[in-house]
């Protein structure tokens, strides 16, 4: 077992893990942050996407020990209060950007990264940025609309979020 200390959603956590423990299992089962999902465990589907030091990574192909000393943000970091949704969450709600909701956490975080780098992406930029996040329900049309709407509402709010 190796002791690791990292910041998860703004809070410092220290735990002992076996070296092989995948970051996604650490988040879900050791910390109870079950918003991050497992879809393939080989880095293709994007359901397990989290932010590591502000950048999207696949938590299913990273060991928890590798996150020692780093900063991790999961979907729960956006807002865990249905009454105070983050503008991206709100845009997905208003534009029907989710159906079963399983890919949604990864989509939201990929969107957050995109809009951080490019506050007003066009459709092709949105599609390229989300190409590594598979959704099996929506056909992506409403997801693309949601991202556009999120960009607009964040721009209107000053993009400070």
């Amino acid at each position: 077992m190796t002791e690791i200390t990292l910041q998860v959603n703004g809070e410092e956590v220290t735990r002992s893990v076996t070296p092989r423990r995948l970051l996604v299992d650490f988040l879900r089962h050791d910390l109870g942050l079950t918003g991050t999902h497992i879809g393939c465990e080989h880095g293709v589907c994007g359901a397990c996407t989290v932010l590591l030091d502000g950048e999207t990574v696949r938590s299913c192909i990273m060991f928890a020990v590798q996150a020692d000393g780093h900063r991790v943000e999961t979907v729960e970091s956006l807002s865990d209060d249905p009454g105070k949704l983050h503008p991206i969450q709100k845009a997905f709600w208003e534009n029907h950007g989710l159906q079963c909701g399983f890919c949604t956490p990864g989509m939201l975080l990929a969107t957050k990264e995109l809009l951080g780098a490019n506050p007003s992406p066009d459709e092709s930029e949105i599609r390229t940025a989300l190409a590594g996040n598979i959704c099996r329900c929506t056909g992506y049309v409403h997801i693309v609309q949601s991202v556009k709407a999120a960009a607009e509402s964040m721009a209107a709010e000053g993009g400070a979020r």
């Binding site: 190796t2 076996t18 070296p19 092989r20 995948l22 299992d25 465990e41 080989h42 880095g43 994007g46 996407t49 590591l52 950048e55 999207t56 990574v57 696949r58 299913c60 192909i61 990273m62 060991f63 020990v65 590798q66 990929a110 990264e113 390229t128 940025a129 190409a131 590594g132 996040n133």
Partner: protein, 288 residues
């Protein structure tokens, strides 16, 4: 799909890493980006007894320019190349290549050098390395050697790297006059079915020197001398580009898998080489 158990090592200096690798020999595998290694471990197709994580070693993530070469350290991520002014200035073609590699989340973690070490014959970096006459530095405890890309890849997922060695950098030649890269994959971000990269030296109206490499056509990235011969000494036109493509297709005997038969890949080699050369031609025209 959980990885098998292993010992974890997190050296904080290169010397320490090399000592560990030396002592463990073939029982150890270095971990840089892990975007190929960890999926293989989850599938239990790779089961290293020891994993040596080099991510805690400072200074391995440098991109530099030295003597007509772009140098890339062993922890340089794909996405760093996209953002690097040095890479943009010295080898603008790389900004065409990198978006073909997986997705943003993969490019944030995966490394250039790790991709070379993994040596997937359909991957982009090995193909780029061959076209750009790359030199790969391998260090072991007390020794260092530099191997040219032409001799680096030996077969599927295998290179000349010996147990105890670590790839500590790669440098790409930059003194070409024109470049082209074309990739065809089933979907955006997938490994190529076939990709082709060309790097040309041009004098006046004609091609003086050419390096043409192809991914996905063999057990390793392939340098296609026949295509090079077909274009050297000629003007780069759509017609000569296609002729060189035909020569490339003629020269290869690709493997087959579920994404494409050997004969399909053979055709694609011709198309990819032809299109990469046409692209190089277009870019040359843009500049003149």
């Amino acid at each position: 799909m959980k990885p098998p158990p292993f010992e974890y090592h997190a050296p904080t200096s290169l010397d320490e890493a090399l000592e560990i690798l030396d002592s463990l020999g073939s029982d150890a595998v270095p971990l840089a980006g892990g975007q190929s290694l960890v999926p293989l471990m989850n599938l239990r197709l790779a089961r290293p007894a020891n994993v040596v994580d080099i991510n805690r070693i400072a200074g391995l993530d440098q991109i530099g320019v030295e003597e007509g070469r772009l140098t890339v350290g062993p922890l340089v991520r794909h996405s760093q190349i996209e953002a690097s002014p040095e890479a943009r200035d010295e080898l603008p073609i790389l900004s065409t290549v990198v978006p073909f590699i997986g997705y943003p989340a993969i490019r944030h973690r995966g490394t250039v050098v790790g991709s070379l070490a993994h040596a997937d014959p359909a991957a982009e970096w090995p193909c780029v390395a061959v076209a750009l006459d790359a030199e790969i530095t391998l260090r072991s405890h007390g020794a260092e050697r530099v191997v040219g890309a032409d001799g680096f890849f030996t077969t599927m997922l295998t290179t000349v790297k010996e147990p105890g060695e670590l790839l500590t950098g790669v440098s790409f030649r930059t003194d070409f006059d024109a470049f082209g890269f074309y990739e065809f994959a089933r979907r955006h971000g997938d490994f190529a079915i076939i990709a082709a990269m060309v790097a040309l030296e041009i004098e006046g109206d004609s091609v003086k020197g050419a390096r043409v490499s192809v991914a996905g056509a063999s057990d390793r990235p392939l340098r296609v001398a026949e295509a090079e011969a077909a274009i050297v000494g000629r003007a780069l036109t759509p017609e000569t580009a296609d002729l060189a493509g035909d020569a490339a297709a003629e020269a290869v005997e690709p493997f087959e898998d579920i994404h494409g038969s050997s004969s399909y890949r053979k055709k694609l080699v011709g198309v990819a080489v032809g299109r990469a050369l046409r692209q190089a031609g277009d870019r040359t025209e843009d500049r003149s």
